[in-house]
Symmetry: C2
DNA sequence: AATATCAGCTTAAACGTTTAAGTAGAATTG
DNA sequence: CAATTCTACTTAAACGTTTAAGCTGATATT
């Protein structure tokens, strides 16, 4: 069918319409300075030829590509899908398109990708994989490139805009929940301390413990890396403690580790929540499954992505204006499911009764 | 710090090096025709100025942007993360960057986005959300734009390259597994019949039933849309059938629906696998959880993404050559977990024991 | 020694837009 | 009616590359 594959250009339209390319450009961009009839004619011809402006050429001249990069740790990070959905919603609404750049939380790669953003033609970047004290990010921000940090942030980067969750509050309410249910020996599986989320979610929990006069015992606080395996290992370890030192509840600083913990408890034949309570963080999709039902701290990831993207575009599009800092801190909410007891009480009693039955009627 | 934000260009380098821009271009691209000393000098100056070629300008002249689009239904589709990981691996290795375009499986939007790909400057597209008989896709392929279909395909689109899973075989082995475990009344939760996956996974299962002489009963075959809620609804419905018509096993054409089914069985207090066996499809992350452990059909999503991306780039980069069709069909494997019995045996023994009990202690 | 070949450069056009500056003619003004 | 302002255009430069074609002087060929 198609012989020559060159697409229709501004010039093609201008020739057919007997006007200069400049005029066509004015028409296509709805700018004034063109007579009504001419405008109409050009529009019709453009329509007929199915003319579409070449965005690459346009980018070159006005230095805007309408391309936004999203730096993430991995597409498999369970936060990513919803975050990206929010970002995509906002971008689509304003005519931008989204590129994703997974970095695997590899510092080198992240630095390289950050440095490459500008000359690759991106208009701005949303980064969700920021580690604390990221020099390259620093440089990028200082150079005036539009950057929005989401989920995590870098305290050391003064001019970095962000929209994050209040991790301290989140950690606080998670821990408070466990304490109020009567737990005194509480295990904590930390996140990496090079991330703001890792730091804050721990800090909040420790605050709650302090407020309620509960001793935080060192052997119950374990390092984790936000991946499920580290949660599994941490629990396997904790549970080796002598019974009176072992936890009756565990707070994992994210859901992945909570799921790992859940699996470990399962393997150890420890009943959740009857024997050990568990609370996670992020309200990731898995936690909502009926057979998992992990109590967790929820945050609106879609909203977070949307706000970040929307404001990033604001920044990009308001050229001259003094750029004032943008910092949003969303509020966490506790989602109470089944891993912390209470609702399980009924079931627990039921089983006790069954056991009695068996003894009485063997 | 930074006053003027214009980045370093080829010209800046050429001026400092006292050569023409053309020479710098040759050097930067490692092309011949430049003397050793000159080359060295240019390289050093470029290095010193931190010169990076402007990819937008480059794209404009050689018509290649090194941008690949990936059309997906949603970032929340559980297949997406791994698929994208594979794609990203291949793209990164060859210097391309990935844009994702969620379409929500909305036909209009998908058509629009497909049509826009070329003038947005993409070099090619990987589509995983293709519905059957997609006119716009047809047009795009016929126009010679590099397209690779992954996961799903469109039978009606003759020149569409693809890398997919053998869905028929997958459906077959899933169903065969249930049959071999002794099930005769098997419920099926279908996928949408406008997708190749929906069609094939059903067809394969029906073949297996036919091969083993098992009647497929209409009320046990329910429509689904690949989302969890439809699996839930299907099971709720099926289980309302009179006991002798209700299924002892269920085959869901994807894991999302299997999870929905799992939840429904949970709510109905029907034990899996003791009372009803369940098999899913895709080997999605959730199914591997210890407390879920759904038996499912596995496919290597990362590999699938990688192959698709890799070959797409091959197509893009071999300009002239006759483009011959590329079609890969990966082999499915059954991942046996805990939702299909084997405990069937346990149940059998248990019932025998109960009967004995009743006789002895009436 | 005249000619061909070649390495090592430069020139200039091209890619498809946008936009500042220019122009011709019509309309408005004093 | 001459001067001014507008309107509706056009011209041409610019964005930052690539690349075909051209040029120059040196080396190789006959």
């Amino acid at each position: 069918m198609s012989s020559k594959n060159r697409s229709v250009t501004l010039k093609d339209v201008s020739k057919l319409a007997n006007v200069s390319p400049a005029t066509v450009s004015l028409v296509m961009n709805g700018k004034p300075g063109v007579g009504a009839e001419t405008r109409e004619r050009v529009l019709q011809i453009a329509e007929a030829l199915e003319y579409r402006p070449n965005l690459v050429a346009r980018s070159l001249v006005n230095g805007r590509s309408k391309l936004i990069a999203m730096l993430i740790s991995s597409t498999r990070n369970p936060m990513f899908p919803e975050l990206a959905e929010g970002v995509d919603q906002a971008l689509k609404a304003r005519g931008y398109t989204l590129s994703i750049i997974p970095t695997g939380d590899d510092e080198k790669l992240e630095a390289r990708e950050l440095g490459a953003l500008r000359y690759r033609g991106f208009d701005g970047v949303i980064t969700s994989s920021t580690l604390i004290n990221n020099r390259e990010l620093h440089k990028l921000v200082e150079s005036g490139f539009p950057v929005m940090s989401v989920l995590r942030r870098d305290y050391s980067c003064k001019n970095l805009d962000y929209v994050v969750l209040d991790g301290i509050k989140g950690g606080y309410i998670a821990m408070e929940h466990l304490i109020r249910l009567g737990h005194q020996q509480i295990g904590i599986i930390k996140g990496p301390q090079e991330t703001s989320t890792g730091i804050e979610r721990l800090k909040g929990a420790l605050w709650a413990m302090a407020d309620y006069g509960i001793q935080a015992s060192d052997p119950l606080i374990r390092g984790g890396d936000f991946f499920s395996a580290s949660g599994y290992a941490a629990v396997m370890d904790m549970m080796r403690l002598p019974p009176r030192e072992s936890p009756s509840a565990i707070y994992a600083c994210n859901d992945d580790m909570a799921v790992g913990a859940f699996d470990a408890l399962w393997d150890l034949n420890i009943k959740v929540p009857e024997d050990v309570a568990l609370v996670g963080f992020n309200n990731t999709a898995v936690t909502a499954l009926k057979s998992v039902a992990i109590t967790t701290v929820s945050l609106n990831k879609i909203e977070m992505g949307r706000q970040a993207a929307d404001h990033l575009i604001d920044i990009i599009e308001q050229e001259g204006g003094e750029r004032q800092p943008f910092a949003v801190m969303l509020k966490p909410e506790l989602v109470i499911r089944k891993t912390c007891g209470f609702s399980q009480m009924g079931r627990y009693l039921l089983e006790k009764i069954k056991e009695e039955d068996k003894r009485i009627f063997p």
